[in-house]
Each structure stands twice: as structure tokens, then as C-alpha cells.
Amino acid sequence: MSQLLADTWALTRRWLVHLRRDRMSLTLGIIQPLVLLTLVGPLLHHVVRDAEGVRAELIARFRTDDYLTFLYSGIAVFTILVNSILGGIPVIFDRETGFLDKILASPASRLSIVASRFVYVILYSLLQVGIVTVVALALGVRAAAPLEAALAVLAFGTLLCAGISVLSLALAFKLPHHSIFFAITGFLLSPLLVLSPTFVAREAMPGWMQAVAAWNPMTHAIEPIRAAFLGTPATPWTSAAALLAFDVVCFAFAVRVLKRNLE
């Protein structure tokens, strides 16, 4: 166990070196969620605030007229989703350059390769979400229950990150080439975003979309976080159970793939 921790730390240090050296990716990675928050937020906020006639209607559907706070939880979760889904990329490049073979030829624990990416993606996501949160607070986003809200971001963010990043790592080991990896993940991101309650509450979606969104893991991370921020009723345990079930499926798939590739 202590070997696993030492190996995981040795490899995580490498990802932290990347983070420090690759300023461009770091900067763009931090700006990207802010773009959504600062452009989409005020736009729709403006619509909601000024259209008195629809305001009551929107409160009924969104449970708030504070669209920026509503949107914040969606953006925070989307940020974690993007990091997690792209979490396997360095591994796929390590596979292609032969660096992975060098790690695999060492006595380092196999699990540490996956664990180090997971630890890194969580750390990086928390950094990003932290910055998004600071900006959001400056823009006027308020949490009804600050402590619960912070805990919800941590807990549900981690649950989502676990399943998605493990899935991404499994694909990084399974897919033959990075271009296929990018094609698949690029294809998935938009529908995952739109078929989630990021921009619109689930209740306000067309029936068939609601049905699809119920199967989107993002939904079960956004809704409890949003409820903590807005102070609206929620079913956090149901959401947690849904995400846990998703994680179990992802882990089972990943173990199968990794066993075949990392024996």
C-alpha cells in the first residue's frame, strides 16, 4: 500500500510539472469555464430580470430568478466533466511515444498509473472550480447554505470525476490512436452538456430530453450542488446513489480493459 502511494506520488509529480510548464493549457483551461459563466450567465440573466411577465414563469420552472447562481453549478460540473473526460490524453500519448512502456517495465504499481491521473484530475479540477467560484462570487452568485454548497461541490464533483476519468483512462488504453480518442470525446461533450440541466432545469425540458437527461451523470452532480446554492429542496442521496452506480459500472469496465492491457 505504501508502495502504491509512493508510485502514485512519483507519477503525480510528473503531471504537476506539466501543469507548471504548460502555461498556455493552464491559462486557457481556467479561462474556458469563465467564458461560459460570464457570457451565457449575464445574457440569460438579462432576459430573466427584464421580462417581468415571464419572471414568475421562470421562477416556477427554474426555482429562482437568479440565473447566474443557477448556471454556476452547471458550469462547475461541466468544468469537472471536461477535465475528467480528457484525463486519459497524456496516457494515450505516453502509449504512442513509448514512455508508457518504460513505466510498465519498471516495478511501479500498475494501479499507480491510473491513480496518479485520477489524483491529478481531481486536484486540477478543484483549482479550476475554485477560480470559477471566486469569479462567480464576484459576479454576485450567492449560496443559500455556503458550507453545504462547498461540500456538495467537493463530494459530487469527486463522484463524477471518478467514473468519467476512469472511463477516459480505459479508452486511452483501449483505442488504437489518439485521433479516435479525440473524435469520440469531442463528439460526446456537446450532447452531454445540452442533455444536462446546465442551462435549463430538467423540469423545463421536453419529455424525451428529461428521460435522456436522467441517464446523464452530469445531471446527478449538478442538481444537488444547485439545490445547496439556491436553497431549494433536493434528493442528494438519490443523486449520490446514481453517481455511485455509474462509477461502479465505469470501474468494472476499466478493470476489464486495464487487466488486458496492463497484465
Binding site: D7, R14, K102, A105
Partner: protein, 338 residues
Amino acid sequence: MSESRGPAPADPGGAQAPGGAGGQPALEVQGLVKDYPGGVRAVDGVSFTIAPGEVFALLGPNGAGKTTTIKVLATLVRPTAGTVRVCGHDAVREPDRVRALLGYVPQEVALDRHMTGLEHLELSARLYRVPAAERAGRIAHALALVSLADRAREPIKRYSGGMKKRLDLACGLLHRPRLLILDEPTVGLDLQTRLEVWRFVRELRRDGAAVLLTTHDMDEADELADRIAIVDHGKVQAQGTAAELRAGFGGAMVKVELGQADLDDGARAALAGLEGARRCELRGRKLLLATDDAAALAPRVAAALAARGLVPRAIGFGQPSLDDVFLEITGHALRDEA
């Protein structure tokens, strides 16, 4: 396996290291087979043994099965059949023990362009469980060995190709492996770097490490290796020291270079039956005759050609090169496929 066709003089079984009596071999490979899906047999019953402190070369063209053999040894690929033991530990049953005893430097330089040389060595040291207290000393020693001490803190994207190769080699020996595996260590390197790699291998041997290298370069095998296994079509076709392999060829040879017009079966027939010539083969514009006494055969060759009115451009005699041995054993020139 006992597939050794052609010369394997000192040791017909082909799997014993010289002087290995008593001491445990650094590496023992027996009957190694690797099949890939689709019925491709990349390695077909390879056996050899490397003694501690010995430099052993797998010599063969690309596609001969060298890299697959090495990947099995490095525990990256599971063998279909056969056994691999490193210092007595089975590579399939105890992969972690074996990994700790091996250093592996793949053919392609595999480095992380974001990291410095020092960070690479630090990572390797940690992954190979070099004790924290010894890390700095071993890293400094490795950097000195590959002459990179003054560039260690620079990101490797500023390194030249030769510097990267040297860093890669240094990463492979931080944990003082009992067996260092170098897959095509000098492919694509300039002459100077190539000579540095050779110096590096000699220094390792001086330190007592066993080295297994693959190459499709005769000179490299001749220059560096204590023993050589000639590999072709997934099999060891012959193995021994360079001298033994040459002796198996017939000890000496006569080379006759002919003009294009004379290259007909007549010239070949005239020479094939000559007393003292054991074989006569046409390679390019040259006829090669294997013999035990080249000095005696050469004048007879000149006379036989003159009797047919043929004037050779040149007649030479002497020791066969490893190229000649390879051609003799595999039936094709190494460089044709390399």
C-alpha cells in the same frame, strides 16, 4: 530449442553461456514462442543464456523477432510458450522481481518533453524504488557517465537527439540493473553519439552488468558483444563469439569480383568444383568461396578463370566478415531487409 542450423561451434545446444558454471546466469531464455493474433509467429523457439557481466547481441534484420523477444524479457508482452528467467526469477510468475532487476531502454527515445533531464532521472529513481537517501548520488553518477551533468536542469526539448539518447540510457541504469536491455541502441544516431553509446556499454560491462542488445549492424555486434545470436524468422540460427561464428563459416574465404559479362554460370561452374573450395556463392558481382586455406585456393581460382579466358577485376582472400557469415547462415544479406 535446437534450431541452430549452420555453425554454433563451441556449443551445439546453443543455450549455455561460457564460464557460467556455478554462477547463476543473468538471463536464461528457453524455447520462447510468441504468437500474435492472426497466426503470426513473431518468435519461434528462441533460447539463449547470458552470464553476469557478459554483453550479448541479438543480430538480425528488422522483423526477425528481436524486438518482440525483448518485449517479452521486459515483461511487456506475455510469451505464448517458453520460459524467461532473470537471475533465477521467472518473468511471468514474478514480474515485479524481474522488473526490479532489469533496465530497459527501448529503441525509440521515449522522454517527456516538458521535463528536465534531472526530473526524468528523479522519476526513474522513484519508480525503480531507489532509496531516497541514495537518489541524489546515483543521479549525479549517471549524469556524469553520460556527460549530461551541466545540462541536467534544462527541459529536454532543448536537447539534441544524441543528448536525449544518452539521458534515456542513464534512466535505464539508476537502479543498477543486473541486466540492461538495449533495443537497437544506436539506430538513427550520428557517428559521435554512436561511439559514445559503445563507450557506455563497455563501461557498464566493466561495472559487471550483463547487457543484452539488439542490432542489425554487424560492426556493432562485432565491436561490442562477447557473444552473438543470429536471429532470423523468429529463430536463433546460430550463436557464439564472433570468432566462433567466423570459424563455422569455414575459417577463410576467397572473393572474386567479375565484370558483368563474365557473370554467367560458366564462371561459377568453373570455380565450384575447385579443389579446396567448399562452397561457391554469387553475391552481387562477387563470387564467394569458402575454404580452409585461402592462400592456396586464390592462385587456383585465378588459373581456373584464366583457363576459360575470364579476367577477374579483383581477387581477394582472408577472414570472412560477419556479413558473409550472416549470408551463409540465413541465405540473404542482412542489409537487404534492414
